[in-house]
Each structure stands twice: as structure tokens, then as C-alpha cells.
């Protein structure tokens, strides 16, 4: 043991980058607040009971669950560090497993929610008039139930069978598949929108400006998704592929930063999906300002 300590005093080693618990707490709290707000707003406002907002609400719910479990884990870590909790106790390990499975569930759920939102937008664009027949509330609820059931099972399976490399590969392949599909859907939508924009290019109003905006929006949407999610998945891949390689070791030392990125995506998500909706924003205004009812009437 002491010999190993000596080895790690070596300066060329990649020590794990530690992030203070306060930062984890802050990000988790902010994410929790935002996403809870979105969920409550969608539930309270009858106007928002449409498939599109159901998917956004589901995404916010998954983010809420991930923030909650991260917060819970941080609290347990704090207790462990101060010595109040035995980190190797049986019950602690069981609770840890539950948290892990909740986190897995919420991450997979987020990915599927993004996919559902992208498909919903796609159907809106390409089958506009038949949208109501294709995407009924019943179907949306069925899709959401399927997503939640699948994610719940997958979360539990992943924690129980985490020794199995095949399961991890499935996780990564799922992520890559979802990424590619989302990219395809959005680029196709973008192409159609741009094409029609060119058709009415006679309108005053800088088509070029709109083109840039569309490209920028899509880039932001996709870029944030990739930047926040892929470091963690690369981490998983590297653990499986090159556990002993020093370069991979240095990448793995940034584990906490990758987790922070995942959590910050839960913070950015509402800004990208939910807060863009004027109806949601007005619901927020009503919720906050109308605690004093005079302002609402």
C-alpha cells in the first residue's frame, strides 16, 4: 500500500481531477428547479396537454430524476466523508445500486425523449395536416409509457448485470444510434425548411439571415447534446477498450468533469426545448406573478 502511495507521488501521473461537492450540489439544484418548473407548468396548464409538450415534460421528468439522484448521492458522499456513514456497509451499497439504476434510467430516458421530440417535430413538418391523426394523445401516452417502462427495466438490468461487457456495448450503441437518428431527422427538417425558404426568397427579410439562424440553432441543439453526452460515453468505451493504457488513464482521470457535463446538460435542456415556447413562458409568469392574484386579472 505504501509503495503504491510512493508511485502516485510521481508528477507524470494523471491524478483524478476532483470537483468540489458544492459545484455538484449547485448544478443539481439548478437543474432540479428548472425541470420541476417545466413539469409543473405543463401539468397545470391545460393548453399544454398536447403530444409535443408531453414529450418535453417527459424529458424534464427524466432530468429531474437524474438531478435528484445526483443530489442524493452527493449528500451520501458528504456523510461518508464526514464519517457518519460506512461506505462499505451493506445498506449503503444497496442504496448506491438504487441510485445507479435511477441514473441509468434517467440517462436512457433523456436520450429517448430527445428522440421522441425529434420524431414529433418531424411528423409535424412532413405530415402537417395528418399530424392529429398520426400523433394522438393516446399514442403519445403509449409511446411515453413504453419509454418509461423500457428505461426502468434497462436501468435495473444495467446495474444488476454491469459486469457484462455486452450490456455496456448495447448502451453505447444505443447512444450512437439515437445520435445518428436525431441528426438525420433534424437535418432533413432543416433541408426542407431551407428549401421552402428559398422559394419565398422574394420576400423582404434577409433569407440569408434566416438561413444562418436556422443553421446556428441546429448546430447549438446538436452541438450541446454531443458536447455534454459523448465525453461520458467515450469514458465508458475507454474503460472497456484500453483500461491499462496511460493515455486512456489520463482521459479517465477527468471522470468528474464528464459527470458535470452530463448534469449541465440537464440544466441547458429546458432552455433549448421548453423555454422556447411562449406558452410555457407565459405559464411561468402566471405561476410566479399570480401568487398575488391581482396581477393576473
Amino acid at each position: 500500500m505504501e509503495n503504491i502511495t510512493g508511485v502516485y507521488a510521481n508528477e507524470t501521473d494523471c491524478r483524478e481531477v476532483q470537483i468540489p461537492n458544492e459545484i455538484f450540489f449547485t448544478i443539481a439544484m439548478v437543474s432540479l428547479g428548472e425541470n420541476l418548473l417545466v413539469v409543473v407548468a405543463v401539468i397545470r396548464n391545460k393548453n399544454l396537454h398536447s403530444p409535443m409538450y408531453c414529450f418535453i415534460c417527459s424529458l424534464a421528468l427524466f432530468n429531474t430524476i437524474s438531478s435528484l439522484s445526483k443530489t442524493w448521492e452527493n449528500i451520501m458522499l458528504v456523510f461518508t466523508n464526514t464519517g457518519h456513514l460506512n461506505s462499505r456497509g451493506d445498506s449503503v451499497l444497496k442504496v448506491d445500486d438504487v441510485m445507479d439504476s435511477l441514473l441509468c434510467m434517467s440517462f436512457i430516458g433523456s436520450i429517448f425523449s430527445f428522440l421522441a421530440i425529434a420524431v414529433d417535430r418531424y411528423v409535424t413538418i412532413f405530415h402537417a395536416l395528418r399530424y392529429h391523426n398520426i400523433m394522438t394523445m393516446k399514442r403519445a401516452k403509449a409511446i411515453l409509457s413504453a419509454i418509461w417502462a423500457f428505461c426502468g427495466c434497462t436501468g435495473v438490468v444495467m446495474v444488476v448485470f454491469f459486469h457484462n461487457v455486452a450490456i455496456m456495448m448495447c448502451f453505447i450503441i444505443l447512444f450512437v444510434f439515437a445520435l445518428v437518428l436525431i441528426l438525420f431527422l433534424y437535418v432533413h427538417m432543416f433541408l426542407l425548411a431551407r428549401h421552402h425558404a428559398r422559394k419565398i426568397a422574394s420576400l423582404p427579410g434577409s433569407t440569408k439571415h434566416h438561413n444562418l439562424r436556422g443553421a446556428l440553432t441546429l448546430t447549438i441543439l446538436f452541438g450541446v447534446f454531443i458536447a455534454c453526452w459523448s465525453p461520458f460515453f467515450l469514458h465508458l468505451l475507454i474503460i472497456m477498450v484500453c483500461p491499462q493504457n496511460p493515455y486512456c488513464e489520463c482521459y479517465r482521470s477527468l471522470f468528474q468533469i464528464h459527470v458535470i457535463l452530463l448534469m449541465s446538460h440537464a440544466v441547458i435542456d429546458p432552455a433549448i426545448y421548453a423555454f422556447r415556447s411562449a406558452e410555457l413562458r407565459s405559464t411561468f409568469r402566471k405561476m410566479f406573478l399570480c401568487s398575488d392574484s391581482r396581477l393576473c386579472h
Binding site: R194, I238, R276
Partner: protein
């Protein structure tokens, strides 16, 4: 003791995402070589000796490149990919989308006269063949709103739909020249909402989010979809 506390913290962090490390070590050749050492320990070995407590730590001797080269390479690759995607999207808007030819062919669709016929006809017609099916649908809806508002209500099937259609108040435009008609259509479409939208009191969508203004299908806000149609549907 310091080492043990550090390892405990690290262990807890690692356990967040299912410590694959032990499983990989068990499966890797390294463990096969050291089987004699590990086999005697049993499951205890897996729990107590976490990542940094390996018998043989990763050696950092003789690294040719910078030790964070994988990290730097990953982030640089990611940035390049995102910027490349942005430029490809911007270029696509300048050079035109691939299905422009299809659209030109489908433009020759015959004029539609009645609301009910239009919509049912459009739904049946090859919207799969022509990706611009929206354009025809919008033409039909446009005519519906001008002339036959009441007939459209049952067809549209959504309570808010007729509310939006009723915004348009100008007269019949079927006889107008193309350029003027285009302007009118665009004007109309600013108030046009496709069926799936939030039925709110705000009839105007132009005062929306600056980022969303005329923003396209990318942002699927119900109101801004109206704006998006301004561009999508000519």
C-alpha cells in the same frame, strides 16, 4: 491513511456508474497473468482494491506524446465536427437542397377548388413522392380560409383551427397575379397555424422570441410553427 481516505472517495465516485473496472480487470489478460495473486482473494479483492489500488498501477514511463493527448484529441475532434456541421448546413442553404427538382415537378399540381375536396385529396396524394406536400396542403387550407371557412372546421377537426383560419380577412385572391399572390400567402401564413398548436389567446406569433422569429421547424413551439410555415410553405 491519507491514501485510504482518498481511495474511499474515489471509490464512491467510481461507483456512481457501475465500476466496470473490476469487471474488465477480471476479464483482461492482465488478470489471467496474475491469476495466482488474485485467485486467492476471492470477491474481497473486487471490493477492497478499487481503481487506484491495483497491484500494478498504470505505468507512465516513456510516454511519447503529451499525457492528455486523448483528451485534447477528443475535444478538438468534437469542435471540428460541430464547426464542420455548421458550415455544411450553411453551405446547403446557399447551394440548395437536393429535392429541388421534385418540388418543381410537383408545382404543376392542378388548382383545387373546394375545401373538403382539397384536404382529402391532398391527404391521399403522394405526399411521400413530393416532400413538399405541405405546400399543397397550405394552398388548400389557404383557399379554405378565404372562401369556405365553415366547411373547414369539421375537416380540420381541431377546435383551435378555425380560430386561426378566421384571422385572414381579405377577399378572394384566386384571380390575382402570381407575385401579389405570393405576398398575400406569406402574409396569411404569418397568422396560419398548423393543427397542432396551443390554443392560446395570443393570435399574433410575430412578437415571439427573437431567436424564434421566423425560426423554423427546428424550434417546435406551437406558435412559432406558424412562423416556420412562413418559410416552409410558399
Amino acid at each position: 491513511m491519507r491514501k485510504k481516505n482518498y481511495a474511499a472517495v474515489v471509490e464512491d465516485r467510481r461507483k456512481i456508474f457501475l465500476n466496470f473496472k473490476e469487471s474488465i480487470l477480471e476479464m483482461s489478460d492482465f488478470n489471467h497473468l496474475n491469476k495466482s495473486r488474485s485467485s486467492g482473494r476471492g470477491p474481497e479483492y473486487v471490493w477492497e482494491y478499487e481503481y487506484y489500488d491495483d497491484e500494478e498501477p498504470v505505468s507512465f514511463e516513456g510516454l511519447k506524446a503529451h499525457r492528455y493527448s486523448v483528451v485534447i484529441g477528443f475535444w478538438v475532434g468534437l469542435a471540428v465536427f460541430v464547426i464542420f456541421m455548421f458550415f455544411v448546413l450553411t453551405l446547403l442553404t446557399k447551394t440548395g437542397a437536393p429535392h429541388q427538382e421534385n418540388l418543381e415537378a410537383c408545382d404543376k399540381h392542378p388548382g383545387l377548388t373546394s375545401c373538403v375536396v382539397d384536404i382529402s385529396h391532398d391527404q391521399g396524394s403522394g405526399s411521400k413522392v413530393c416532400s413538399h406536400s405541405l405546400m399543397e396542403e397550405s394552398h388548400s387550407i389557404f383557399r379554405c380560409s378565404i372562401n369556405e371557412e365553415e366547411q373547414c372546421e369539421p375537416v380540420a377537426g381541431h377546435q383551435g383551427y378555425q380560430g386561426r383560419l378566421s384571422v385572414r380577412t381579405s377577399s378572394d385572391v384566386q384571380g390575382e397575379p402570381m407575385g401579389l399572390r405570393k405576398d398575400r400567402e406569406a402574409n396569411f401564413l404569418q397568422h396560419f397555424n398548423i393543427p397542432n398548436f396551443v390554443n392560446s389567446e395570443h393570435s399574433s406569433v410575430l412578437g415571439d422570441d427573437d431567436l424564434l422569429l421566423c425560426e423554423q421547424p427546428i424550434i417546435m413551439d406551437s406558435e412559432t410553427r406558424c412562423n416556420s410555415k412562413l418559410d416552409i410553405i410558399s
